[in-house]
Amino acid sequence: MLGQVLFSGLALGSIYGLVALGFVVILKATDVFNFAQGMFVVCGAYLAVTALSLLGLPFPLAILFIILGAALMGMGVHAALIRPLSGRPILSIIMVTIALSIVMRAGIEILYGPAGRTLSTPLPSGGFLFAGLRISQLHLTAAAVSWLCMLAFGLFFRFTSVGLLMRAAADSHEAATIAGVKVDAMNRLAWAIGFTLAAIGGLFLGQLQIVSTELETIGLLALPAVVIGGMQSIPGAILGGLLVGVIEQLASTYISPKSADVMIYALLLVILLVRPWGLLGQKAINRV
């Protein structure tokens, strides 16, 4: 029983980690605490519905459609809302992300109707027994793809020259501008990546559940994940995502489904009280 719960917790947690990673990429690059990240997840699920059910694209093309669509939307949000507001107080920008999420929800419900839709993909959806556990292939695929995406991003960020320029821009916009980095382009790229990672999460969450704007709540689990893991930390976001997934599954199985949120936010509160910089975050060091 416990093994079963841990398996689904870790699988779901991997998706949360992926969404949280997207959140941190945006936060590091542009200092925006993005409350619309949950709706980005929903957008990913609806991009999948559009590509597979409405347009009837073959699966590989549908994946391309989702990734390109999400990346373009991320750039659009940056160009239309974030860039014009850069330099404004943090609170104004946070309000804009909240407004954006509400508008996106309304827009989606206008376009697609309020009812949920099922999403079917050619991904394996059966299950098999392994060491006494019933392993759902969809959960396994979701976790594997999430880890692949996280790994790919980590390698890109750490080892490529564009990744280096992104890290430089995230360190200091002014210093990066002086060093000749196209900071605007780096920020746009960060929003594209952040949106895309959320959308990939949405593709799987939409399939594990039902595609509706209610997925936003699940997408927003990225927020406690990031705070628990450490706001500016990429490994922290992933660890936070896994923890949130495991706690959610343990609480819903052993206490009650509704208690999951209570437990997650209780942990968040404890972390904020005793280790406000998060598990893997760093205390603000020598920021001048």
Partner: protein, 247 residues
């Protein structure tokens, strides 16, 4: 033939706060070291920002005048384009990337070069500043002020500039370190042919290491000339050298 850098009657301001630069003109020839002197608020940093395209980032703008690089008008170019045209900067406050390693800091500077030239360029900088080579894996934020200044200069040099701008090179640094960095700059000019435009607080240092100097007062060029001319200028001695000698 056109000079490497020609600032031609630049006026600039921040918002409505009056002119921070008032028709400033100066010239930097290839391979020379030129100093900008002046008290706080004289417009030295504004002048550097006007040349490097950074005024807008600080809410300022060029009102009139032109900056010519090899005769090409670059007045309204974006900062990254100006870097790519061969003007790199070590800014006031050094502004190294604190969370990145020394090596990564230099690599960001070198990123505007073609890939094949980057490694060789970084080696040349490590050769110039062996201290940076020793610390190549360390986070820049953990280094001393002098080392950060070397890194800021190294990052600018990594872009293989024809002209390097240095704002407040000696501010807050021990005299021995200032001397060491200026001696390296002499090597830079000799080996790479890079020209240097440096904002300097200390007139004595400037006149010792630079070919020419311009003195700004209230956003205008009050005095200018070769180091030799200025050393014997009476006004210069009364206002700047006298005060500097007394510290």
């Amino acid at each position: 033939m056109a000079s490497l850098l020609e600032v031609d009657g630049i006026s600039a301001s921040y918002g409505r706060m009056g002119l921070a630069l008032d028709r400033v003109s100066l010239t930097v020839e290839a391979g020379s070291i030129v100093a900008i002197l002046g008290a706080n608020g004289a417009g030295k940093t504004t002048l550097i920002r006007a040349i490097s395209g950074l005024l807008r980032l600080h809410g300022g703008a060029v009102a009139s005048g032109r900056t010519l690089l090899d005769g090409q008008d670059v007045t309204r170019f974006s900062p990254d384009r100006i870097v790519r045209l061969g003007v790199a900067q070590a800014p006031e406050g050094r502004m190294v990337f604190k969370t990145l390693s020394v090596e990564d800091n230099l690599a960001v500077g070198a990123a505007s070069l073609p890939r094949a030239r980057r490694g060789e360029r970084m080696d040349a900088i490590y050769h110039l500043f062996p201290r940076l080579a020793e610390r190549r894996g360390q986070a820049a934020g953990l280094m001393s002020g002098g080392e950060q200044q070397m890194l800021a200069v190294g990052r600018a040099l990594a872009a293989a500039p024809r002209l390097m701008l240095i704002d407040e090179l000696s501010l807050g640094l021990a005299p021995l370190i200032v001397k060491a960095i200026y001696e390296r700059l002499g090597e830079v000019v000799a080996t790479f042919g890079t020209a240097i435009l440096v904002v300097e607080q200390s007139a004595r240092i400037a006149l010792r290491y630079c070919d020419r100097a311009y003195v700004l007062e209230g956003g205008r060029v009050a005095l200018s000339g070769t180091a030799g001319e200025l050393s014997s200028d009476e006004r210069m001695r009364d206002l700047y050298l006298g005060a500097a000698a007394g510290h």
